[in-house]
């Protein structure tokens, strides 16, 4: 395939960088058992807080050293990608579905439906997301499904707010009125005339939301409200490493970098998509 034949969005440098980073993280997650040098949960109490392999006192068996319980940091990082990506993918799709459906209903029909959905979004917005997800986790209890559910319940408003105003803009176009006058049903009008126009924005928001979901999962596991201790999670690693910040700063830096790189991948991808797909550049920024 020549460069010119590729779709425009694939020619953007940012999209490519984002996709490469995410491909790397996805590979780690999918092939974790083959890539990880050790069992991430295996404790090695005689080799705790080892520095990385290249530093003084490092052990080649533990390339990025060990934590306070002697677990292999690299293996935990690789396995941690599984949880982060699972949550990111499922939760952001869930939030997207709820948010997008409500946004289209509100923006297309207007009137009291729009008013009602608008007020629900207002209520949600008066909760800071961190607080709401913590309270939901208290109510739901820990576990992967509940983390996902909490993120979906908190973040659907991100989609709803931004998409609703876009739906209103598109709905006001004359071609929507024309389709209705030619006899299109509401369902057909929304799916054939409106949704294709909001799709680019939707994809961009989805990419950005995946980054947000990774962060929220990390925050929840950081405060110990995410999954059990037996599932490696980057936020959990950060929390553990905080106890030994002086002896083993490396333990802290590794998961921070892992979170940062993954989120950066989603954000750069989202920004690239926004630049190539969104005719009005400023739109998504206001998400």
């Amino acid at each position: 395939m020549t460069l010119a034949a590729m779709p425009r969005w694939l020619r953007s440098g940012r999209v490519l960088i984002g996709l490469l980073i995410l491909l790397f993280v996805v590979t780690c997650a999918l092939f974790a058992p083959y890539l990880a040098p050790n069992d991430p949960n295996e404790q090695n109490l005689i080799a705790t807080l080892l520095p990385p392999a290249w530093a003084d006192g490092g052990d080649p068996a533990f390339p990025l050293g060990t934590d306070s319980l002697g677990r292999c940091v690299l293996s935990q990082l690789i396995y941690g990608a599984r949880l982060a990506l699972t949550v990111a993918l499922i939760a952001s799709f869930g939030a997207m579905i709820i948010g997008a459906v409500l946004a289209h209903v509100a923006g297309y029909f207007g009137g009291w439906v729009d008013w009602l959905i608008g007020r629900i979004v207002d209520i949600w917005l008066s909760f800071p997301p961190v607080i709401l997800s913590l309270i939901l986790m208290v109510g739901l209890g820990t576990g992967v499904q509940n983390v996902i559910l909490a993120i979906v319940l908190v973040d659907w408003t991100r989609f709803c707010r931004v998409l609703r105003s876009e739906v209103i803009v598109v709905t006001r176009r004359d071609y929507v009125a024309a389709a209705r006058l030619l006899g299109f049903s509401h369902w057909r009008t929304v799916t054939r005339e409106i949704a294709p126009a909001t799709f680019p924005l939707l994809i961009t928001l989805l990419s950005l939301e995946m980054g947000v979901a990774v962060v929220v999962e990390a925050i929840l596991s950081f405060v110990g409200m995410s999954v059990g201790a037996d599932i490696p999670a980057w936020g959990q690693m950060v929390a553990d490493a905080r106890q030994n910040i002086y002896q083993a700063p490396w333990n802290l830096i590794c998961p921070i970098l892992a979170i940062f790189i993954t989120v950066f991948g989603f954000n750069v991808l989202g920004d690239g998509l926004r630049r190539t797909l969104d005719p009005r550049l400023s739109q998504t920024e206001r998400g």
Partner: protein
Amino acid sequence: MFATIAKLLARRILVSIPILLLVSMLLFMILRVLPVDPAAMSLPPNATIEEIEAKRVEMGLTLPLPQQYAIWLSQVAHGDFGTSIQLRTSVTRLIGQTLPATIELAVLAMAIASALGIAGGLLLFYLRGTRSETVLDVGSIALLSLPEFLWGLFLILLFGVWFEFLPFTGVLSAGYQKPDITGFLLVDSLITGQFATFWNAVQHLILPAFALGVSFSPPIMRVLRSSLLDVYQDDYIHQARLRGLSERRILIGHALKNAILPTLSLMGVQFGFLFGGTLLIEIIYSYPGMGNLMVDAIRNTDLPIIQAVGLTYCVVVLVISILVDSLYLILNPKLRTR
């Protein structure tokens, strides 16, 4: 002008009352589905079933849920959030002790976020179309990708652990006396003239406030930049050029006044998020604010505290958004004139 603003504001405040009611209802419902029994928790472990049952009746837990909510609500309306199960003190007092510290942190962080955001936005706009803009732009995406709690930890590593020139736990070093008048440490130390205490408190605040501020500045930067780009497409900018105004005057006198409006409405939402972000920063910096109170309460399933603190967060967020909205009203004539 002020009469219209006051009228619009009054309406805005009226609208937030039902929102607050629904928020409190939501909070109450979420926490009531918990599989824990506050009555059992507030009694010693060796309490008998009968004692627990009696306690349940005493605490009103046997009443229907709507009635429980109504009782709780009427207490809240009188400023009574109940008694902490774990700490056995008035929740209202606990919040009174911690809220000022959290507000102090949040206000400083908002100032930092606004300053960085506006300066960065202007810089990004100024460099539009150049190679450095691409670098800075990707840089701002990178900034966007580091959430506040990671910033917090990162700054501790950098300035607390490696360079060791700023403190990163608590609000005051050992040996300083905390003046207590309004609860706001910076204010109190200034009005009592304890400048050493003030300076020490500032040092303690720098890292957490900066971590919080810097992590919320990139969206502001990016929206200001894109709003400026939008505004520069408008006819009145072209007309101002045709009138011979200097570029500097056009930016300051004409473009910025319009571009700040979308930026401001984003800041309203962002500052709500930022206020929630104080929770994580407080944990990381062992800062004695509402966030730590909340997390301790969650660990101990101390329902009265969780409910009260959750509601307090929402109230503050609503107040922030009303304040930002009124600023928006002052700056945007379209909303207050017809």
